[in-house]
Symmetry: C2
Subunit: 214 residues, 2 copies
Amino acid sequence: MPPSERTIGRLSLYRRLLKQAAAAGHEHVYSHELGARAGATACQVRRDIMGLGCAGSPSRGYKVKTLLDRIEFYLDAPVVERVALVGVGNLGRAILSFFQRRRPKLEITAAFDSDPWKTNRVVQGVRCHAMAELEPVVREQGIRLAVLTVPAAAAQEAADALVAAGITGILSFAPAPLRVPLGVFVEDMDLAMSLEKVAYFARRHVRAPRRGGK
Amino acid sequence: MPPSERTIGRLSLYRRLLKQAAAAGHEHVYSHELGARAGATACQVRRDIMGLGCAGSPSRGYKVKTLLDRIEFYLDAPVVERVALVGVGNLGRAILSFFQRRRPKLEITAAFDSDPWKTNRVVQGVRCHAMAELEPVVREQGIRLAVLTVPAAAAQEAADALVAAGITGILSFAPAPLRVPLGVFVEDMDLAMSLEKVAYFARRHVRAPRRGGK
DNA sequence: GTTAAGCTGTGAATGGTTTCACAATGTGAT
DNA sequence: ATCACATTGTGAAACCATTCACAGCTTAAC
């Protein structure tokens, strides 16, 4: 049974929390501890870990180091994966600086923008190319992932170019769903939508469906 | 039956697409058209609209104007809602400029940062206050929503301050889940997690679970 | 050595969302 | 007026994710 999208997301979160726990000197964690920190139930944590195929001890819980290794093996590619950034506006630059400090196994190595004033400069240590160079640069560097931070009107065209260049995963901030062929994974981060959601539920004083172990 | 979080998200998306359709001169839409644009099935669209309690005609589909009005009535507060921005770093400023152009019924009217170099300046037309002023400013302006763009280490403290000031909805970009009391809605936008998700599924060439009507 | 306690691992139950399938309906063509 | 068609509205089914509940362990205490 392949892990669901949500499970993968939680594993990524667990990993971060486990790193903190390891840094704090913890050798073992219980599912309810991890759950409390992750905003999930102990049960959920155990299920997620089960899918990982790794065992804990009834009295000590899970070994932090083992879990970390297993999650890493599960989530990460064997080599560092390169990521392209398309759209070097405010948001693009913010994302760039965000990822340049926290570098797991993903590294933004090329940026693209249609504005000639931005191209051929180096932003946050990353070279910014013209859109016309997208395909050659992506192919040459073997890039398979992209972060898309262009205005809505340019999003579909940029996505098409990315797909044509062989990208198979896009993290899109465009406020419009992209049409991509099968086999290309798109994760939508729609800021406007999310804020409207928050406004709606905040008005009714509804809490987001998270919940910690007791 | 209260609408689910996902339904509200889709309604927000439908609204945006319907506005485009209206601008393009369309008076009516079919569920499958809207679905195709939104990356949802026709069936899903009809369900969502059903919850809205508004009817379409079997031969013309739904009237765009009616749908828009109904969604607006459903999603929007009767008055413009004010939003606070906490954390005026790169990401915060990007979000600020992002929302200052597209202003539905939500307006960022105050910013906060702990860095004294940033406070008492005006960024993108928004005054940046010190964190100490959070509660008085939030209360005075009647702000109930916040966008949180502070580093992970400062996130929980900032969230606590927001809750203490009476905020009931938070859009958080902090790479850590927040602990908030019941009745406060938190939407997490975890960039690092999302990118890892994309990397994972891109590697398996799995497509995100969207898909439009035939 | 025995017992008590608390945790893991997991089948089964639950709950929620999406899709199916089709009757009901309005429209245009003949 | 009637028919054929494409679409809506919706109960029921299918699907997926989460939680329950408990057997099986492992350890600590006595």
